[in-house]
């Protein structure tokens, strides 16, 4: 499925890039310096959206996989694949910023504690999703297998999200139902960043789905030329 209206995609692109620049400005100049961590705390503003957007992307994989299995319409399979790939890329940014954040705050690059471990498992599961997608040649079979895998792999998302609440961990809980461990300018910046990154995800999703559509069109034309 292609996002038919190019204007929507252009608007999404411009808005998300503008939003990211505003978020960066807010993170660098609007938010105060943290008393304990200093400038290192500002990594949080990119680390947090890089954690939440993949959760959303993998949720889209789950929903599209279920819809595909019900309708057998391959456009849902394409959206699911595109979402998984983008989620994985942003999740990579999460793991990288996380390890860089760990060193000055915890004194080590990596700790095998629940949040980090479950995040890595989630990353590996969705890397497996992409490997499965490319390892099956026949389109219908590939869509069916990745849909089932996409549903099963989603189990890692709530486990990763809840890990800091379920188990003893050094990872801080920033947002709780009763209180937010940030001052107003900090959480406003975090939300603006999160919103911009979600738009950026939507912009990438439109392009990635287009790319899959083009690849399939090319394959069809190649078959036609060979016949």
């Amino acid at each position: 499925m292609r996002l038919k209206n190019g204007t929507i995609k252009r608007c999404l692109g411009i808005t998300s890039f503008l939003g990211i620049f505003i978020s960066l400005y807010m993170a660098f100049f609007y938010t105060p310096l943290d008393k304990n961590l200093g400038v290192v705390q500002k990594i949080f503003y990119i680390h947090f959206p890089a954690a939440i957007v993949p959760y959303f992307a993998f949720f889209v994989v789950l929903v599209c996989s279920i819809i595909y299995l019900k309708t057998r319409d391959r456009k849902w399979s394409k959206i699911a694949y595109a979402s998984a790939e983008i989620g994985l890329v942003i999740d990579t940014a999460l793991l990288v910023t996380g390890t860089i954040f760990d060193k000055p705050t915890w004194g080590v690059w990596w700790v095998w504690e629940p949040r980090l471990t479950t995040s890595l498992i989630m990353w590996l599961l969705y890397a497996g999703y992409l490997m499965l997608y490319y390892s099956v040649g026949e389109a219908e079979r590939r869509s069916r297998l990745t849909a089932v895998y996409g549903i099963v792999a989603f189990i890692s998302v709530p486990i990763s999200f809840m890990s800091i609440r379920w188990w003893r961990t050094v990872h801080p809980i920033v947002f709780e139902p009763t209180k937010i461990a940030l001052d107003t300018s900090m959480w406003v910046t975090t939300l603006v960043f999160l919103f911009s990154m979600t738009l950026f995800y939507a912009y990438l999703l439109g392009h990635r789905v287009d790319m899959i559509g083009l690849q399939e069109e090319i394959e069809d034309l190649k078959d036609e030329v060979e016949d």
Partner: protein
């Protein structure tokens, strides 16, 4: 400061490399599609 700079640099590098990959691949696929359409048109005529 070095950790802060490294984290932002690494995150944006990953995201912009991905955007670059998508844009480049889309351009190449568009070119391939045009070429194949011309081949099919020539074949039919």
């Amino acid at each position: 400061m070095a950790y802060f700079a490294a984290a932002y640099f690494a995150a944006w590098l990953i995201l912009f490399l991905y955007v670059f990959y998508i844009e480049r691949k889309l351009a190449l696929l568009g070119r391939d599609l045009e070429h194949l359409k011309n081949v099919v048109k020539r074949k039919k005529s």
